[in-house]
């Protein structure tokens, strides 16, 4: 940061309370609430203008949460599984906005899998958070497609089908920012959100977020106790703002810096023997396959590739958002129409 902000206000001079939303209506102790809090922390810390952020969601418990953070940001609660398409339209109509999408494992992994993968494939610039708890909460506890194989829930019985790994799906669809985290690890979540907000494409954050009502038994891999006892950090990084030259200098040599949007960077801590290098796509796929086979609860930055052009870049959009172009730019002249008509004779 250029100047140390005054205490309790951010670089815009705003207190954190300014970034709050409405009171949550989710269950007490729900992982989603702690993720909402971390989005507030990250946005406040980065000094984001809330008016420059749009919050998007699908349908489900997770998708209710955008009402509970960044109260001065525009929000849109869309259809079940269809937030990626709405995000695509909105963030191409105005590509200067930050997009924060909140989805769930049902919303993304089942009804919305197609849209999710196509959004990733297009590399829309958006932070796509999956609040992953393995169950459908609002409809009272059916298994989702990320539920553990062999798991039993009182209401639904036994799940006989293998889970879908949404990080793996994202990497296969050419996602350039894939991370997994745990709602019970706030610091890690904040750090990831900050980096993701500055990534020039789709950043997929698969955050295991326990459902205290339907899926928090100790033997569930989506429970608090499982997360706390099994969390296996695959790497660590720090998020560095452009101006923070000291941090970059310190970083050089010892670590690996990956440049993000507007000159911000992720500085990866020096990898210890056997630690995962997130710039290696094949290694990332192998790691996820291994984690799946051994039921390892890995967290960290799984894959990063800052080189793919974003959808807005692919569309060659200018600096003025499409939504702000005046009529003089979007209605061609009378003479041009006469010329087109003359060519039809």
């Amino acid at each position: 940061m250029t100047a140390a902000p005054a205490k309790n206000v951010n670089s815009l001079g705003l207190p954190k309370a300014d970034y709050k939303g409405l009171p949550t209506t989710l269950c007490a102790g729900c992982g989603h609430n702690s993720i909402s809090d971390k989005i507030i922390d990250a946005a406040w810390d980065l000094g984001l203008k809330q008016e420059q952020v749009i919050k998007l969601s699908g349908i489900g418990c997770s998708s209710k949460s955008p009402a509970y953070f960044l109260g001065r940001s525009f929000g849109i609660n869309t259809l079940h599984g269809r937030m990626p398409s709405v995000a695509t339209g909105a963030l191409i109509a105005n590509h200067t906005l930050y997009g924060v999408g909140v989805s769930g494992d049902g919303d993304t992994g089942s009804i919305g899998m197609g849209q999710f993968k196509h959004m990733v494939r297009r590399n829309l610039r958006v932070v796509y958070i999956i609040e992953n708890n393995g169950v459908y909460g609002l409809t009272k506890g059916q298994f989702s497609a990320t539920a553990d194989m062999g798991q039993e829930i009182k209401y639904t019985g036994r799940n006989e089908l293998p889970p879908i790994d949404l990080c793996l799906e994202a990497i296969v669809a050419e996602c350039g920012f894939v991370a997994r985290s745990f709602a019970g690890d706030p610091k890690h979540v904040i750090n990831l959100i900050k980096a993701a907000l500055n990534y020039r494409g789709t950043a997929v954050l698969d955050i295991i977020s326990p459902c205290v009502t339907f899926n928090d038994k100790d033997d569930s891999t989506k429970s608090y106790s499982w997360g706390k006892s099994h969390d296996e950090r695959i790497n660590d990084f720090s998020f560095v703002m452009t101006q923070d030259e000291i941090a970059i200098e310190q970083a050089e040599g010892e670590t690996k810096a990956v440049e993000l949007h507007d000159g911000t960077s992720i500085v990866l801590q020096k990898l210890a023997e056997g630690q995962h290098d997130p710039t290696d796509r094949m290694a990332a796929i192998k790691l996820l396959e291994d984690a799946r086979a051994k039921q390892r609860f890995i967290t960290g930055l799984i894959y990063i590739n800052p080189n793919r052009p974003s959808l807005a870049e692919h569309e060659h959009l200018g600096s003025t958002p499409l939504s702000a172009l005046p009529e003089s730019k979007t209605r061609p002249s009378r003479e041009s129409l006469e010329k087109v008509m003359a060519g039809m004779k």
Binding site: G75, N77, G89, N94
Partner: protein, 610 residues
């Protein structure tokens, strides 16, 4: 018009039939006949003769039968005719059926290798060397098949008197002024015309003569017209998914937008066109873009409309502007994907679950496709709701004569949008509050730099301030306001075109591509039967109030449309209430454009011969 009463060739001494007949060309799909047919059509158009062309094609890339009909009408009638005086047969598979299709007194031109029994004495027969002429001139065996089509063009040019210069400029139009393909095709046409002059003895009365009835007109398809309308309407975002017969609308956008919509200062496009993964995502993107302030559109056909249902209801309830083109084809289901229908009227009007009803525009020709192409954005933003434009395959994919399109006569209407300055003045806003009583609230656009700008958009029940609500009163008030908004729409959408005929006891109501056949039907009714008929053409839904008076003023009102369930008839019955027994459903749905012959007979059967 009554060419069918003409004597057969054997009775000799037939007066010439000038500029009043139809040609049907039967070929195989993918054989390149489209070039030949559109060249014929445009050459006739360039000669000043009113023409219309209709392509009856299969859902297939190559090999299945396809037919192209050209109607030549000095009187300017452009509706499809059920039979043709001239049939050109190049497809052995359909040659026998095509033979039977020749109108009495007409002629059958056929590739000379077609071997069928030809025993009709009421028509003329002209074999043409469709293979040997191309063999002489075209070295590339791949192109020889295409060149075969130019043989019938040349033979017809000779027999009918089509101007060679006009054929050349028609080919120039088709090949975008590339001389090489134009000259190689002209070579075949000329050789074939010369061959015909030496080898065919003309025994038919048909000929064309130059007129001046197409002066100042253009020839264009409705999908290109709709795309141009969108370009001049300031579309900034389009998401679409390929589907016949709507694809060529998005194709035309993609072709014209780079020419017409680059920002001269920054050399960047002032639009984005995205091919979505399906129609559901296409409308999702359009809704997202409309919410964020773009003029957003999609184009699709019936199956896509089905997929868009949930988002259409969302757009209606969350009040987000969007423009959806439905270039209708025949359903239900995959149905007849390359044939025309007006079968999406009811489904689209009520698209979405729960209580929803939409604004629909009903263009009848390319000029209206252009007009509604830009007007739809004004209406969508004014009313903050999805607006559907229901065109169809006949309008969208066939070539129509048209007056040149008129430049938009009013600046864009972006609707009720509050910017930061206005928010400062007002000290805040409630998104869904009905301040003016027209049912339309004020909105702000994401990115508006003002602490009071943001609101939360949702498909769930909400208050005037856009907060979540399950309260019965909030729900009822909101739905009542949406009802008021629909009434506002009723008053500001394009109003019907009405032709009240003095002394007419009966009337016809129609819309869209049924229009040319209805115009011709009225002419036939009066000329052949002495029956006068008033006419009202619906241009939009919700239905105009004035329709009630129109129905009241007549004894019987025939509702002409192209579908099986008489869909507009059903909506009209609801609309006119006590007058509903005056309405007669005159619907036809076989996948082909409406004909005046059927329509006239239908009405006269009901009215009784006079």
């Amino acid at each position: 018009m009554a060419v069918s009463d003409m004597p057969s060739p054997q009775t000799a001494e037939r007066p010439p039939v000038v500029n009043m007949f139809s040609i049907m060309v039967a070929t195989k799909n993918g054989s390149g006949s489209q070039t030949a047919n559109t060249a014929l059509l445009r050459a006739l158009f360039k000669m000043g003769i009113p023409v219309s062309g209709k392509n009856l094609f299969p859902s297939n890339i190559q090999g299945l039968p396809t037919w192209y009909t050209i109607r030549i009408s000095a009187d300017g009638f452009t509706a499809r005719r059920p039979l043709s005086e001239i049939v050109v047969a190049l497809n052995p598979a359909t040659a026998m059926d095509d033979y039977k299709e020749v109108e009495k007194g007409g002629f059958y031109m056929y590739a000379d290798d077609i071997k069928i029994e030809m025993n009709r004495t009421d028509i003329s027969h002209y074999p043409i060397p469709a293979k040997s002429i191309p063999q002489k001139f075209e070295k590339d065996p791949k192109l020889r098949g295409y060149a075969a089509n130019m043989v019938y063009v040349g033979a017809l040019a000779h027999l009918l008197g089509i101007n060679m210069d006009d054929l050349r400029s028609a080919l120039m139009f088709h090949f975008k002024n590339k001389p090489k393909p134009v000259e190689s095709n002209m070579q075949i046409i000329q050789a074939s015309a010369e061959w015909a002059a030496q080898n065919l003895k003309k025994s038919d009365p048909f000929k064309v003569e130059p007129l001046n009835k197409t002066d100042g007109l253009i020839m264009i398809d409705g999908n290109t017209a709709g795309a141009l309308g969108a370009i001049y309407g300031g579309f900034t975002f389009c998401a679409w998914y390929p589907i016949t017969p709507a694809t060529s609308l998005a194709d035309a956008l993609t072709a014209y937008a780079p020419r017409l919509r680059m920002d001269a200062e920054t050399n960047t496009p002032t639009y984005s066109i995205i091919q979505a993964e399906d129609e559901l995502a296409a409308l999702g993107m359009v809704i997202g873009a409309g919410w964020a302030g773009a003029r957003a559109m999609t184009s699709t056909s019936g199956p896509g409309i089905s997929l868009m249902s949930e988002f259409a209801g969302y757009g209606y309830y969350a009040e987000i502007p969007a423009v959806v083109w439905d270039v209708q084809r025949m359903g239900p289901s995959t149905g007849l994907p390359t044939r025309v229908s007006q079968g999406d009227v009811l489904g689209t009007y009520y698209l979405g679950h729960g209580d929803s009803k939409h604004v629909i525009l009903l263009p009848a020709d390319p000029a209206e496709c252009f007009e509604y192409g830009w007007k739809a954005f004004d209406l969508a933003e004014q009313l903050q709701t999805p607006v559907f434009v229901l065109s169809d395959l006949d309008i969208g994919m066939n070539q129509w004569m048209s007056k040149p399109f008129e430049y938009p006569d009013q600046p864009m209407n972006r609707g009720k949008v509050l910017d930061a300055k206005k928010l400062d003045e007002l000290g805040g806003f409630a998104r869904y509050k009905d301040i003016e009583g027209d049912g339309v609230g004020y909105r702000t656009l994401p990115g508006t730099a003002h602490p009071l700008a943001a609101y939360f958009t949702r498909g769930t029940g909400h208050t005037e301030k856009a907060t979540y609500s399950e309260k019965p009163d909030d729900w009822m008030n909101n739905m009542a306001r949406l009802g008021r908004k629909h009434e506002t729409a009723r008053a500001i959408v394009p109003q019907p075109a009405v032709d009240l005929v003095e002394g007419a006891e009966i009337a016809i109501i129609s819309y869209g591509s049924a229009h040319p056949a209805v115009e011709e039907t009225r002419w036939r009714l009066e000329k052949n039967h002495g029956v006068k008929a008033s006419y009202l053409r619906i241009k939009a839904l919700p239905l105009a109030e004035s329709i009630k008076d129109f129905v009241a003023a007549h004894k019987r009102v025939y509702v002409a449309e192209l579908n099986t369930d008489a869909q507009m008839y059903q909506l009209l019955r609801l609309h006119v209430g006590d007058l509903q027994n005056k309405l007669v459903a005159a619907n036809w749905g076989d996948g082909l454009p409406l004909t005046a012959r059927w329509m006239t007979k239908f009405i006269m059967d009901k009215e009784g011969a006079k």
